[in-house]
Symmetry: D2
Subunit: 385 residues, 4 copies
């Protein structure tokens, strides 16, 4: 079935190999689905209308593969890309699965572990660059602590900065066209992770050697775990000029990392996020970092992938309607939404502000009409207007 919500390459949707390839292993149970060949993933995603596919180094090339094996794998993968026209917009490295990283990677207490992590990341950067990736995501899955005594956070941030600087140095030396995107997360698998939110990561960047090379990869699930508004986080990242990549999925607040299909929960926040990206004409990938429920077989995985993209397109259409809905626009005027763009500083500057008299009772009694506005948006979302 093809309809107006059937994606095409122009929609710039991408998936991670690890998303459609997730076999369902969780803390309480083993794999429920067979391994997915990356080449099959490329072909299936291409058929569904995706633009690109992303990977951790070891999603594609198993850890410890010989140069020959690596070459053979890359060759076969590249052929799949060529056959389908699919791209690799982003690459990343897995610094969390192997036991060596159990105490951290870039911020491990042991310098040898830290260096090994940097080495592995540089190798992954090379692999990504080789396949055309221009964004390299950094998620520090094991950078954190349960026993706070064991980790000095300030020193750990020194080491985090040092590792990111080293990776930037590598990219500069090689002359790659590649930028970094930090992915914040508050907890899980560690009790508390470093750079736990979009805000903490944005602040961190300012201390780096080459801050222009580094931005953010905000993830819907990760911000939502902390109960924060994802669309607000994305807006602040855009405000700083630092939205380099995005991870779309779904999550309920205060739960384990759920990585549900985009829109499966939190549809309002999803809508405002889509509206923001579209209004900002943001030119990055609409990347889905999610996976199919564990109840699914292989076929369910493709239903999952299709659903992510459809929901984005449905919400994008609603964002377009939002802009042209007369009742909504009228309600925005009642809410004085447009007047937020007016500078607070008047012609007469601070002096004028200080000298003026404000009619506080009149300002206080004004009704902003948010109930009506919000209900209109809700009915737009529910498709009854």
């Amino acid at each position: 079935m093809t309809d107006r919500f059937t994606p095409t390459r122009d929609d710039k949707f991408s998936f991670g190999l690890w998303t459609v390839g997730w076999q369902g292993v969780d803390v309480f149970g083993g794999a429920v689905r067979p391994r997915l060949d990356p080449v099959e993933a490329v072909h299936r995603l291409a058929e569904l209308g995706a633009y690109g596919v992303n990977f951790h180094d070891n999603d594609l090339v198993p850890f410890g593969a010989s140069p020959t094996e690596r070459e053979s794998i890359v060759k076969r993968f590249r052929r799949a890309l060529d056959e389908t026209g699919m791209r690799v917009p982003m690459a990343t490295t897995n610094l969390f699965s192997r036991p060596v990283f159990k105490e951290g990677a870039f911020t491990a207490n042991d310098p040898a572990v830290r260096r090994f992590a940097v080495q592995k990341t540089c190798d992954a950067i090379d692999l990504g660059a080789e396949l055309g990736a221009t964004v390299f995501v950094m998620w520090g899955g094991r950078e954190g602590a349960e026993a706070d005594a064991a980790k000095d956070v300030r020193t750990a941030l020194d080491r985090y900065k040092e590792a990111v600087d080293l990776c930037c140095e590598h990219v500069r030396e090689r002359g790659y066209d590649m930028r970094f995107a930090l992915e914040p997360k508050p907890n899980e698998p560690r009790g508390d992770l470093l750079l736990p939110t979009v805000g903490h990561a944005l602040a961190f960047i300012n201390e780096l050697e080459w801050p222009d090379m580094v931005g953010l990869n905000p993830e819907f699930a990760h911000e939502t775990m902390s109960g924060l508004s994802f669309s607000h986080a994305v807006a602040q990242a855009l405000w700083h000029g630092k939205l380099f990549h995005i991870d779309l999925n779904a999550q309920r607040i205060g739960k384990f990392d759920q990585d549900f299909r985009f829109g499966a929960e939190g549809i309002r926040d999803a809508f405002y996020t889509v509206r923001l990206l579209e209004d900002a004409a943001w030119d990055g990938m609409r990347h889905f970092d999610a996976h199919a429920y564990r109840t699914e077989d292989a076929a369910g995985v493709w239903d999952f992938a299709r659903g992510c993209m459809r929901t984005y397109l449905i919400l994008a259409e609603k964002a377009e309607r939002f802009r042209h809905d007369p009742a909504i626009q009228e309600a925005l005027a009642v809410a004085k939404a447009g007047q937020l763009a007016e500078p607070t500083r008047p012609a007469g500057g601070l002096e004028e502000i200080r000298g003026a008299t404000y009619d506080e009772p009149a300002l206080a009694s004004y009704g902003y009409g948010h109930e009506r506005l919000d209900q209109l948006v809700n009915e737009l979302l529910l498709g009854v207007r």
Copy 2:
């Protein structure tokens, strides 16, 4: 009863007038305690060993007071300070109680409200400066949204920046010795607040006109509401050189803003925070932004204040013991805690890292002894070692 946990002025403890003065009004019930005269608050806190007292403009001078009333109030208050030797280390302004701010203050959609908010803040700065405050806290209690459609976050951040810049300008023009400290909070009273965490506020500062004038006032309860580690947040603020003030209290994760007595919940995070402040020899005020339970009469309020300070001193003593406990120090060595200070970059730089061979199995099998370390800290906290 005086013991080693009885505070003195040297401990630099301060309270807000609004903390000991809280009358118990909440969403579900009215005042349970009579109004506390700020002058009495000064005397009582001085007797208990506090160093200073802080206030919102309208904690001291009622909104709408005439210049004569203001003068008389300030004169009487200053006399209490002089009699007791108490200081006013910090001042702030109330931009959340009056209905005029129901839709925001610095980021209200209505420019007149924004200007009124800046005017009120400048007046509060003058009041604070007059009484000797060198830190001015900014908590944007109504800067946020429930109906997301009504508030463009990026534009709101433009206005937020503009307002803070205007306040900085005012301080510079007047030549006050005063710095600003932003206080983040994730939600309540608004559905979602702007600058929801320490991280978001730290990032925001980098876009200001005079970033050196602005730092953070992290609050234990506010970070904890989002489930984030408060001591990690304070550590990152210190790392950026931006810890200008601190709000100590207690809170359970994912609840309404509880503002409990310091240490009443989350004793471990409280301990690591105290240890951090003491280890860093941070020279700011140990400020308590908390209030007595609603079950208390006036006497209970002073028990509450005494408890906040005692718990800090108890934890500070434990932090000192931590440094000298041989078993803990040995466990830190097992955890390789000290090796985090070693730069990751070796003499040979990135090239050396990339060329080296790492003994992954050996690194992976090492036991860091965190269970033992954490239990030792727990027993230190429980006073059985």
Copy 3:
């Protein structure tokens, strides 16, 4: 504008006087709207299509009113009911606002407070009965603790049971046609409340003297504060035959008690709740325990009330479509949803179960198609199918 989502009396919508009458007082700010006359509330709600109006004793009759005042107020209120045809389906009592209840009401440590609370409740029952209420809600807003040492929970439950038994006794003696509905809440205003969830209250009922007289009043916001599924809670209450009343509103997980307009957050859980009530042909009131944002003037309050009812009707229509959507019904078959109704016990009983051989690999490899099903529901909700 009248459309198919314009409510009528047949839809059985009710509001509390305290909901449309909320003046916006919160912990951080005062009233933003004038007091609403209960008589006006009745007329406005009737015009909007509501069926009934509910109240706490002191929403209608101020605390301490003389018998004459009470009579006059009731007479005037009854006239409004008569003029509009509005009913009072439910009444309740306010055991949380006055300072006397600061340490609890039915479970206060002081026996005099407990007796006063029972007296006040009996008076409120009489008032409710006089105005035709057949459900009496009990929300123990101050039954709980911050300082756990001060409250023995087991003894408190003894007292809680005793108080509910006393109220039942009163109803039986008077021969009222009235049942009780307990309203659970996890926290706020107390640190931890007794009977924190629907489950705890359901269990408690079994220990009462007249368990048949007592059921539940689950509230969307209250269950959601704990991160629990509201529709699951309502389903379990129905399963026990204990859904006596319901409080519809909206809430984000892990936040202060938000009491937003129904559907403003958590639209999926709202949909499943509506579907459940409609599928179960539940004959109780669709009661809204919510309030308008603090940004609103008086007009916004009626937009709020209208929005609650419209959203319910929109979701009820979707529930109806769900039942007849062929693709959804097909997906339910793939999910084997209908087979859950088949008893697990076979004809041969336990022995047959134990003796049978199960084809585990075949059962394990089945794909339940939840991704497709869930996406279909999402698209139904979004109005694109």
Copy 4:
């Protein structure tokens, strides 16, 4: 080192084989520790002073083992028990790890899966009975939903009841001395689990065929995930006479299931739980359902186990001191804690309550001294009184 906190068999501590045997597999990484032989676990735990060891069927006997293998394993295990004097107080079954249970077990939509689950449970009951277990825990790890449309909760509760009834029937037929303990959990691994809290499970029991045979196994981490007070939950379970078993560990609110060492977080709630168990002279096992951090090697596991028991004994000593601390007892009197035991019903019954006059202002102005009391408890916990 032996001190007064070194456990002995008389302290009735037990551990699950799966706790000390956890190899560190989580969603983001593989095993970090070698497999632990159950026989070694028995010996090590016995040396540390534990009383017993518990298991899921497949912790001891691998799924699919032949009768001969089973016999050999059980024989070897029993020998370890005999050599050490260790007991098996509790057994349970794993209905969550194998893919066949991905959509549920007792409440799976497919009747064959449900029957297989009952069969597996009966086998596990036999195994437990054979080794002397008198409590059988039921944790429904996969009983729940992500796609709510696929699971009718009311029908699922019918099936849940049926399965528990079948298991009771089995125990009655065999004449085992065995009771069941339901273990609630709000979420993870499923999006929402059935019987999410202690309250929901307590209510459920009342609908069973043999309610006397079934009680609760509350877990610290599981209640805490929802932000509920664990000690309150245990108190309510005791109040209903339904505390059949307990799972002690540690957890932060609103996070993934952390299963930390007892006392590692939430020390106050842990203290009140220990005080409750000791004051109630509860005669069940003090069972730890926790695991060592992933940073640990095999030695760290035994530090972890030692720490759990030590912390319990430290807190039990503090509970004893609480009872005899004159200042605390005096503060309890101020809080009128003892007066909660007085029946609310006076000699003259309801009539007396209704006819009495209460001095509301006097009752309202009383100060309960909770700040002082709570601080005293805090200082007791911190070991400075």
